[in-house]
């Protein structure tokens, strides 16, 4: 198939363990962290104030992968949280109800929560923390694109108004962070953090671009998940820059090797749309890889990276303004990639020469799944590329039926093989 990016996987595991250990240490020392979400995390601003960052979504998905999520979900359901709401939220509530303790780590209490209108559950979720801990909650109101075909760009009159609105909000958040941290904003520190994210993003986008070519160098769901974890948890840091520099270098080596030693049979290049199935993470991917499928691209790497796929570089010479501009553009990009997909999937499928498109809707995340239906219809109206629609969950094992999933995947690959036999490009 392809050669695994072993070094990047090991380094990602190590970095994410370090991140967990630092959070555990904070909890032991009765210190606090800012809670934020991957879309609009404000990691660089928090780094400038040296306020530790905790990303509950990543923690939740880790509990799904390591099998501890079910107990957390159960805990929240026993409190009356219904079965059909966001399971990230519910697992997180379960975690707080059991004292922020997991089998191998504890988590710090929040000193601040940052949410945004990118997802309405973010706001309700953060309000729960506020009720539990009585700490400040800052909600960004992100102006949307309104027109997916012509989103406003820097230089447009509409964009100037949106940016001014964002600037006011960023200034308010800076004041809040100054109050919480007891220090003034150091623009140089913010510039440095933005520069680090710029360099991480440069490498990440090169890696994504490499996979659009043939042969693809990594599985965008399996390996992409590791890249994503580090990108979110380490954005704005030199450690993140080092990781992505090494990861890019490793992929370049893999690409050379793939060109020298091409596989006997070309893989089926697949485009993934939606969220991974974290409770069955490895076996879900294996259901595809054992039949010759390779995910060359994933929309998850767009919205769950907070829009890092967008060609946006912060201007470190005007850090506050550029931070506000980047926050607007990238978070809006993340939202649009879900709700206003329009022709994006058709263009993505053509660009990466995907043989098929896999849609994975999850029952407990309406933010992702609502947009998926329109994206699928938009693709089907323009393309005859085979598609597969799977529905399960990103957290709750009870909502997943592996046998049904396998049957549908088998049918999808039968179609792909028949098309290839018939000479489909």
């Amino acid at each position: 198939m392809t050669f695994p990016a072993v070094r990047a996987k090991i380094e990602a595991t190590s970095l994410l363990e370090d991140w967990s250990e630092r959070l555990d240490l904070l909890a032991q020392q009765q210190r606090t962290a800012a809670y934020a979400f991957v879309m609009g995390s404000c990691a660089e601003l928090l780094a400038a104030f040296e306020i530790p960052l905790f990303l509950p979504e990543i923690n939740c998905l880790q509990t799904a992968v390591n099998g501890t999520a079910q107990g957390l979900l159960q805990h929240a359901e026993e409190q009356g949280y219904p079965s059909d709401i966001c399971n990230y939220l519910k697992a997180d509530v379960g975690l707080h109800l059991q004292g922020r303790r997991l089998p191998h780590k504890r988590l710090p209490a929040p000193c601040l929560a940052i949410a945004s209108t990118a997802c309405n559950t973010y706001i309700k979720w953060a309000e729960i923390w506020q009720r539990l801990y009585d700490m400040p909650l800052f909600v960004f109101d992100i102006p949307g694109s309104r027109n997916p075909a012509r989103p406003s760009r820097p230089g447009d009159p509409g964009f100037a108004a949106d940016l001014a609105y964002m600037m006011e909000q960023v200034r308010s958040l800076i004041s809040l962070c100054e109050r919480i941290s007891g220090r003034r904003l150091d623009p140089d520190r913010l510039s440095h953090a933005l520069d680090c994210t710029n360099r991480m993003g440069d490498a990440f986008r090169q890696m994504l671009a490499m996979n659009r070519q043939e042969p693809a160098c990594f599985d965008a769901v399996r390996q992409g998940g590791a890249y994503l974890g580090v990108f979110n948890a380490y954005r704005g840091s030199e450690a993140g820059v080092r990781y992505f520099r090494n990861a890019l270098e490793e992929l370049q080596q893999i690409r050379q090797r793939c060109l020298r030693e091409p596989p006997a049979e070309a893989p089926f290049r697949l485009l993934f749309a939606g969220l991974p199935c974290y409770p069955l993470y490895s076996s879900f991917i294996r259901m595809f890889s054992t039949q010759g499928g390779l995910f060359v691209r994933s929309t998850y790497l767009q919205f769950a990276s907070g829009g890092a796929n967008l060609e946006y570089r912060f201007d470190t010479g005007r850090p506050v303004e550029s931070f506000a501009e980047g926050l607007l553009l990238t978070t809006r990009e993340a939202m649009d990639s879900m709700f206003l997909a329009g022709d994006r999937l058709f263009e993505a499928q053509a660009a990466c020469k995907a043989d098929g498109v896999v849609f994975h809707g999850v029952k407990s995340c309406r933010t992702v799944s609502t947009g998926l239906a329109d994206a699928r219809l938009a693709l089907l109206s323009r393309s005859s590329v085979p598609t597969l629609l799977l529905e399960s969950d990103m957290m709750d094992r009870r909502l997943i039926s592996p046998a049904q999933m396998q049957n549908r995947i088998d049918a999808f690959f039968e179609t792909l093989r028949l098309r290839r036999q018939a000479g489909a490009p």
Partner: protein, 272 residues
């Protein structure tokens, strides 16, 4: 028999409720069909239906070049030569029966699927009901059980209903409770059954729309024998469905066609 391989192929569709088998000759004409209840022993069901298929056709097993299995029990058919999903098989079988087919609706015991197909019988897109059996044949079985009525009589009774009740639930188990509630309220059985048929037809319509309806629509699977369901679907769709005596066997037929592909490929190799 000639110097070539045996000229027949067979498809066996092990469904959750019934197991179907189709025998094809080398010209892809249906040479026989058989149907039995599946029961709990999948392998035994497959053997029994295959034995009946051969006996009815007056053939021995060595007259059959390839046996293809499909349905949820396809991997348990010990004597099967290849396995193909029921999604691919229903698509292939439907197009073979009705070449103008653009969309297939397969309604079986445990699942309902909408399949958009290409002219060659290949699958373009498909959607299936989720884990719940609401909207499948099981839903009708549950209704029949609650009303203590033979399954075969459901369609005829439902067709006499004039004021169908609304079955609002999306769960088969709770639908039983809802049916009992209608009985307790004194609603006539035929109206309750007509309501159950309409509930399933509505759910099927949603599935069909998800794959993008392309005429003509072929109705396959065991429930395609149910004339009331055919009527309800036709009313909702505003068009005639392609349905016939062989449509309950479309899955097994598709499997037999995939088996025939192997037979023909083998002949080409011999000739080559």
């Amino acid at each position: 028999m000639t110097g070539f391989n045996p000229p027949f192929t067979a498809g066996i569709d092990v469904g959750s409720t019934q197991t179907k088998a189709v025998l094809l000759d080398v010209s892809a004409r249906i040479a026989g069909t058989a149907l039995i209840d599946t029961g709990f022993d999948i392998d035994a069901a497959a053997r029994t239906v295959y034995a009946r298929l051969l006996a009815d056709a007056g053939l021995r097993a060595d007259a059959v070049h390839t046996v293809a299995g499909t349905g949820y029990g396809r991997f348990r058919i010990a004597f099967g030569d290849l396995q193909v999903t029921e999604i691919s098989c229903h698509a292939r079988g439907a197009v073979h029966l009705f070449p103008a087919t653009g969309t297939v609706l397969d309604m079986g015991g445990q699942d309902t699927k909408a399949i958009r197909v290409a002219a060659d019988g290949g699958v373009i897109d498909f959607c299936m009901n989720d884990k719940c059996a609401a909207g499948t044949g099981r839903f009708l079985s549950a209704a029949a059980a609650v009303l203590e009525m033979p399954l075969d009589e459901l369609a005829a009774v439902a067709a006499t209903g004039a004021n169908p009740v609304t079955i609002s639930t999306t769960c088969t188990v709770f639908a039983e409770t809802e049916i009992l509630a209608w009985v307790a309220r004194g609603k006539p059985v035929n109206d309750i059954l007509l309501g159950a048929h309409q509930a399933i037809a509505n759910r099927s319509l949603a599935l069909l729309k998800r794959v993008g309806l392309q005429p003509a629509i072929t109705f396959t699977g065991g429930v395609s024998r149910n004339s009331c369901m055919v009527d309800q679907l036709e009313q909702l769709l505003g068009c005639r469905l392609q349905v016939g005596e062989q449509t309950p066997f479309a899955g097994a037929l598709g499997a037999a066609l995939f088996a025939r592909d192997r037979l023909l490929a083998g002949r080409q190799e011999l000739q080559g």
